[in-house]
């Protein structure tokens, strides 16, 4: 007969088993396997062969990988601050609207969020048509800006995708900020007003400091997500022109499933994991989330 405690443990493990089995099969095992693959060369068809740290040296000297890494960083460093700032301002304004109008605006901002990147990219590919009469060129023409080859110009392609990603995602950023604003107690505002604080003081001394956990969440997740940009690149530019918009995940995908370079793809994946890990730890360590 099992003791009561042993039975309780068994129940707990029993409840955990289905999820744990999937987690081990599709997360844990693949991560370890990727570490191993990163030490091999070969492909899907030819089979793999152990070569040690060769791939890591190759990655360091591979100008395309370095380019993809730079593109990814450039892209993230544009999206995160721009989306953060614009959505913060927007959320502060929406917060002052009546509930009815708040809901109207929220629904509108959320519309892009419910569609796949593929669907949205198809719409935007038409908007970006490089012809003088293309939709976006017609629009900027009204402002006196000459027609642009939005996705075909190497200097413009990343800003164009950044614009698309911000358009697609800012509904989410705004709603997260609104949730953060909603969590701030009204008493604090009342007390500040009684003490004679003006709107600027309330914003800089109460609202912004108390939004710190929200900032930190968006910063950390913004980096993790944007460092994995793939869908928009696949759909809008296929990495072009001349790799000007290739990102790390795009290059991993190409190497694994088109170039028969599994080991090298795994190496780049592992490097991406290490970069994301270091960034996340640094952000969590050096950016205080508590209010002094």
């Amino acid at each position: 007969m099992l003791s009561r405690r042993a039975r309780q443990y068994l129940t707990a493990y029993g409840f955990l088993t289905p999820y744990l089995a999937l987690y081990v099969t599709f997360v844990l095992l693949p991560v370890l396997w990727s570490f191993y693959l990163s030490l091999c060369k070969g492909g899907l068809l030819s089979g793999t062969e152990f070569v040690g740290f060769q791939n890591y040296i190759k990655a360091w000297n591979n100008s395309l990988f370095i380019r993809a890494l730079q593109n990814t960083a450039y892209y993230t460093l544009l999206v995160v601050p721009l989306a953060m700032l614009s959505s913060l301002i927007l959320a502060l304004l929406i917060d002052k609207m009546t509930p009815f109008w708040q809901n109207v605006v929220k629904s509108a901002l959320f519309l892009p969020m419910v569609s796949s990147v593929v669907s949205l990219s198809i719409i935007w590919k038409a908007i970006f048509i490089p012809d003088r009469n293309g939709p976006l060129n017609t629009l900027v023409g009204v402002l006196g800006i000459p027609p642009q080859n939005w996705l075909g110009n190497p200097d413009l392609v990343i800003p164009s995708i950044v614009g698309f990603e911000i358009w697609r995602g800012y509904g989410f950023w705004v709603i997260v900020f609104l949730a953060g604003l909603g969590a701030i107690s009204n008493d604090l505002y009342e007390a500040a007003r009684v003490d004679g604080a003006n709107a600027w003081h309330i914003l800089t001394r109460i609202t912004l400091p108390l939004l710190r956990p929200t900032f930190l969440f968006l910063l950390v997740m913004g980096f993790i997500w944007n460092f994995q940009l793939f869908d928009a690149v696949y759909m809008l530019t296929a990495g072009g022109p001349a790799n000007a918009s290739a990102t790390v995940v795009w290059y991993v995908y190409r190497n694994a499933f088109h170039f028969e370079n599994l080991g090298f793809a795994a190496t780049m994946g592992v490097l991406l994991l290490v970069i994301i890990l270091i960034m996340t730890v640094l952000q969590l360590k050096y950016i205080p989330s508590e209010i002094e």
Partner: protein, 285 residues
């Protein structure tokens, strides 16, 4: 007297200006969000909104539904809609069950290795998919599940977010209630099924919507695992389909519209939960 009057006018002007900014800027942002969709609808009713050298024709002169018929005549289009709905619903249903079971155990049970296991699972949130996707492809292939529904459904179930979310939620349930049910002779699973799950409905709604949405929009995994046309999900199908109508933007837009509508209806019904589902990670984080 004049000074007071002047100050009052000044304040009123200031208030009006503030109201214009408070309503004007979000209004413009909303227009920017919605405008590409309006564009999509307008273009979807014509074959030639854009011909190089001519001014673009925004409003269709002779609206046609031929574009929509062309999409519906595509051999597998409706199959892709079904696949997307079926895969997203299956993942959601199974994830809700097994992830809340795991979350429940982490929230309410004591057992050796609990904290270590939880940290192990939680750290999975940071792992980029680029790392796991190649071996996952091999594992699915070895099980003989390429081009199959289980191949599409099983790997996404391992995403750790739901376990974390359900643990947070279930920690708020009163333990006395669960003990009482056990004393009344309910089995462990009975307690979970009849007491814990019904009490967790708000948490389950949030997780369900989050999971469904992630699955509905997912691209990379279905792109790799579903190579047969009949097993593609909507995003993967569309990514191929739109290249076949490279210059016919009308047909492309009709396809996009048809791909957005099923989920848009769901969204309009459950909007409140959606917004909660998307922000819950932030509030807990």
């Amino acid at each position: 007297m004049a000074a007071v009057w002047r100050e009052r006018t000044l304040r009123r002007t200031y208030n009006v200006a503030a109201q214009i900014v408070i309503y004007g800027v979000p209004f413009l942002a909303s227009v920017a969000s919605v405008a590409p969709f309006v564009f999509m609808v307008l273009i979807s009713f014509q074959h030639t909104f854009f011909v190089s050298g001519n001014p673009a024709r925004w409003i269709p002169r002779q609206p046609t539904i031929e574009t929509y018929l062309a999409v519906l005549e595509t051999p597998n289009f409706l199959r892709w809609v079904f696949n997307s709905l079926f895969v997203a619903s299956s993942v959601t249903a199974i994830a809700l069950l097994i992830q809340s079971m795991a979350g429940y155990v982490f929230a309410k049970k004591e057992f050796p290795g609990r904290d270590l296991l939880f940290i192990l699972i939680l750290s999975g949130i940071m792992i980029p998919r680029a790392v796991t996707i190649i071996p996952t492809f091999f594992i699915v292939k070895d099980f003989g599940l390429l081009n199959s529904y289980p191949g599409l459904i099983l790997p996404p179930l391992a995403v750790p977010f739901g376990v974390f979310l359900m643990r947070q939620y279930m920690q708020t349930l009163p333990s006395e209630l669960l003990d009482a049910s056990r004393i009344d002779g309910c089995s462990e699973f009975g307690t979970f099924w009849r007491i814990v799950l019904p009490l967790s409905k708000p948490g389950l709604a949030v997780l369900g919507i989050y999971t469904f949405m992630e699955q509905w929009r997912d691209f990379l995994w279905p792109l790799i695992v579903a190579q047969k046309d009949a097993l593609k999900t909507l995003p993967v199908g569309l990514s191929v389909f739109h290249t076949e109508f490279r210059t016919d933007y009308g047909v492309q837009m009709a396809a996009v519209l048809l791909s957005i509508v099923p989920f848009l209806i769901v969204f309009l019904f459950f909007q409140r939960y959606f917004i909660k589902g998307m922000t819950v990670g932030a509030l807990k984080g």
